[in-house]
């Protein structure tokens, strides 16, 4: 295998080892093209388990020290596209390690690459700046992924994550960059990291923390209007959202629903054009995974399609009094109850035990017309945990009342 091929395979650290193997031949060709038209870039990443790649399993220990290998990919953006700067490779680098959400105690940085070594090594409790020369003058290292060095990091306060900053509070002269030189302009070595620079790797202290998904509890479109549901995902602290999907299996057969996730899976949009035959309630569950693909969180949206063609008239598509089945059910530790009121009105939503005793008053106030949702953690009005069993919940307004059952399973 040529050196180019070795570099190409090595330049895709961490994201998906299986895909990496499958793509190896393609990467080899791509790397050849890259070498033929050299580019420089693009991102730093961390490795704590010594496998040379960055995965969700790499993290800072909550207590005690973690040995962190700092890597730099000089040839490609994180998404695999070639870097934009026409530089031949690596001869120097500088970077700013940054503790986020806490402070750390830094160990000694040991440079891995040859050359004249570390030029500068400055730090405080939240930042550590390193500048180093990796090659003898006049020589550069080909594009690829390189382990720059190793440093020990020990949390001192809070639950810090480790990131790479573009600029530093230590000194205005400190930046994150690498060289040797780049054609054009002012040799802005921060800009050379391109758009992908913004997604610089962060090393979390809780890699398995799931994200948080936000979506409407219920949507009630006008008759034959297209359905559009917006989803937002908030990653865990220093986390990432590795995937965002929608379960469309409950929609009618032959539906044309499409779910599209946005940049970094932080947003998503479900679009669906129902037909005249579609009516009733459809539940779509949106699921997001964190840095650890197994760490997931979900949110269900009820799509309530009205049936009357005449309801195209705005005056006839007013919300109706509805009480939907809670989701999930059975549940533990919490569930969500969706309901709708026809006009602004005082509404009460009360949970009763099987003997008819009121145990939890979830809603008792004036509600605006339209759909609403309320979360219940299975506790009574005094905050006590309720026993497993069947409960009844009842929505009451001056426009009527509805009752359903739910199951608490601890």
């Amino acid at each position: 295998m040529s050196r180019t091929c070795v570099l190409a395979q090595h330049s895709y650290p961490g994201r998906d080892l299986r895909r990496q193997r499958l793509l190896a031949p393609l990467l080899c060709i791509l790397a050849t093209l890259v070498v033929a038209s050299p580019a420089a870039a693009q991102y730093f990443y961390f490795d704590t388990n010594g496998d040379g790649v960055s995965t969700w399993a790499d993290s800072l220990n909550g207590s005690g020290s973690t040995t962190v290998d700092v890597w730099l990919n000089t040839g490609q953006n994180r998404d695999g596209s070639p870097g934009f700067c026409g530089s031949p490779g690596l001869a120097t680098y500088e970077f700013i390690l940054q503790a986020l959400g806490g402070t750390v105690t830094w160990g000694t940085y040991t440079s891995t690459l040859a050359g004249s070594g570390v030029l500068q090594d400055n730090s405080n409790a939240s930042e550590h700046y390193i500048a180093a020369v990796t090659n003898p003058p006049g020589t550069t290292t080909p594009l690829g992924a390189y382990k720059l060095g190793t440093i020990s990091v020990t949390p001192a306060s809070g639950a810090p994550c480790l990131g790479v900053a573009a600029s530093s509070g230590l000194s205005p002269r400190f930046r994150t960059s690498f060289g040797t030189g780049c054609a054009g302009g002012r040799f802005d070595h921060t800009a050379r990291f391109g758009a992908e620079w913004a997604s610089a790797e962060v090393l979390p202290s809780r890699p398995s923390a799931p994200p948080f998904v936000t979506a409407p509890g219920i949507v009630v479109p006008k008759y034959l209007d297209p359905v559009s549901v917006q989803v937002q995902v908030t990653p865990a602290t220093c986390g990432a959202v590795s995937s965002l999907n929608a379960d469309l299996s409950t929609l009618p057969p032959g539906n044309n629903a499409v779910f599209t996730s946005g940049p970094s899976n932080l947003t998503g949009t479900l679009t669906w054009q129902p037909t005249a035959a579609d009516h009733g309630e459809f539940m779509v569950t949106f699921t997001a995974a964190g840095r650890n693909p197994s760490a997931t969180a979900a949110k269900t949206t009820v799509i309530h399609l009205v049936t009357d063609a005449t309801s195209v008239d705005d005056s006839q598509v007013e919300p109706v009094l509805s009480l939907w089945q809670n989701r999930p059910n059975p549940f533990t530790p919490s569930t969500t109850i969706f309901y709708s009121v026809p006009r602004e009105t005082r509404a009460s939503l009360v949970v009763f035990d099987i003997a008819g005793r009121s145990v939890a008053r979830l809603v008792d106030r004036v509600m605006s017309a339209g759909p609403h949702e309320v979360h219940w953690a299975g506790r009574d009005d005094a905050g006590r945990t309720l026993a497993s069993g069947v409960y009844i919940y009842r929505l009451t307004t001056k426009y009527g009342a509805e009752t359903r059952r739910l199951v608490l399973a601890r």
């Binding site: 120097t92 030029l119 003058p137 960059s177 060289g179 780049c182 002012r186």
Partner: protein
């Protein structure tokens, strides 16, 4: 003819040209001036402190960070009545070099420094740079430009110089004019200095030690990263000598008069 004699003759000729020009309109050193500029749009340029960071050169004048963005000065030539003087020939408007330090036999007006000269760089394609002239004659407002890399930003292989560390005087028809940091400032608020990636060596009579970027320059910049910044080594003009400055020198390592472009 020795170079120092030649330079004196050039200066004398410029002075003479200035003298003969007085019958029509005499260049006023008080009203005339130059301004540092950069940017490919000459009608909407960077000026002053926004332009000066681009005033850095490689002895090969080879681009790639050397004199980028058409780094230049705008020259405005006016008479005592503050009226622009038009049609002054480009060759009468010069950034003036004098050839080298006294130990090499160079004296007289012009940058008293080491610049490209064939006497001390005989084996390489080093031009004898004395006058870096204007891109063209002055227009009706007495305005022209001196784009350092060559007229209109096109590389001129006869504009290659190395280490120097003093002010570059600007002459019009033999009359030295002053700089302004911006067009709206006063004369004397700016002096022209162009940093060079070759900033070590060449001050003696040893042949071929100037006009080349080599390990001496790299080591000097590298050492300056952890020391008080030296103006001539702050190539990106951010007031610090950083690894970014070192990267520029590394990129131009071993560049000289005949390499990578020859001539």
């Amino acid at each position: 003819m020795n170079s120092w004699i030649r330079i004196r003759m050039v200066v004398a000729a410029l002075a003479l040209a200035g003298w003969t020009g007085t019958s029509a309109a005499q260049v006023s050193p008080d009203k005339s001036f130059y301004v540092p500029q950069a940017g490919l749009d000459y009608n909407n340029p960077l000026e002053g402190t926004d332009a000066i960071p681009y005033f850095r050169a490689c002895p090969n004048n080879d681009g790639d960070g050397s004199l980028p963005l058409d780094a230049r000065i705008k020259v405005v030539v006016r008479d005592a009545n503050d009226a622009g003087i038009k049609d002054i020939a480009a060759s009468d408007i010069c950034i003036l070099f004098n050839g080298g330090p006294p130990v090499q036999g160079y004296t007289g007006n012009g940058a008293d420094s080491v610049i490209a000269n064939s006497t001390y760089n005989p084996a390489f394609n080093c031009p004898d740079v004395r006058c870096v002239q204007a891109d063209g004659p002055t227009d009706a407002d007495g305005v022209t430009y001196i784009t350092f890399t060559g007229a209109g930003g096109v590389r001129d292989p006869n504009r290659k110089w190395g280490h120097y560390d003093s002010v570059l005087p600007v002459y019009v028809l033999g009359v030295p004019i002053q700089g302004r940091i911006t067009s709206n400032d006063n004369n004397g608020t700016y002096v022209l200095q162009i940093k060079n990636f070759d900033q070590v060596g060449g001050l003696t009579t040893i042949l071929n030690t100037g006009e080349i970027v080599n390990s001496n320059d790299i080591n000097a910049v590298q050492a300056n990263i952890v020391a008080p910044p030296v103006f001539w080594r702050d190539f990106d003009g951010d007031l610090f000598v950083t690894i970014a400055d070192l990267n520029m020198v590394l990129f131009h390592n071993l560049h000289r008069c005949n390499s990578p472009n020859n001539p």
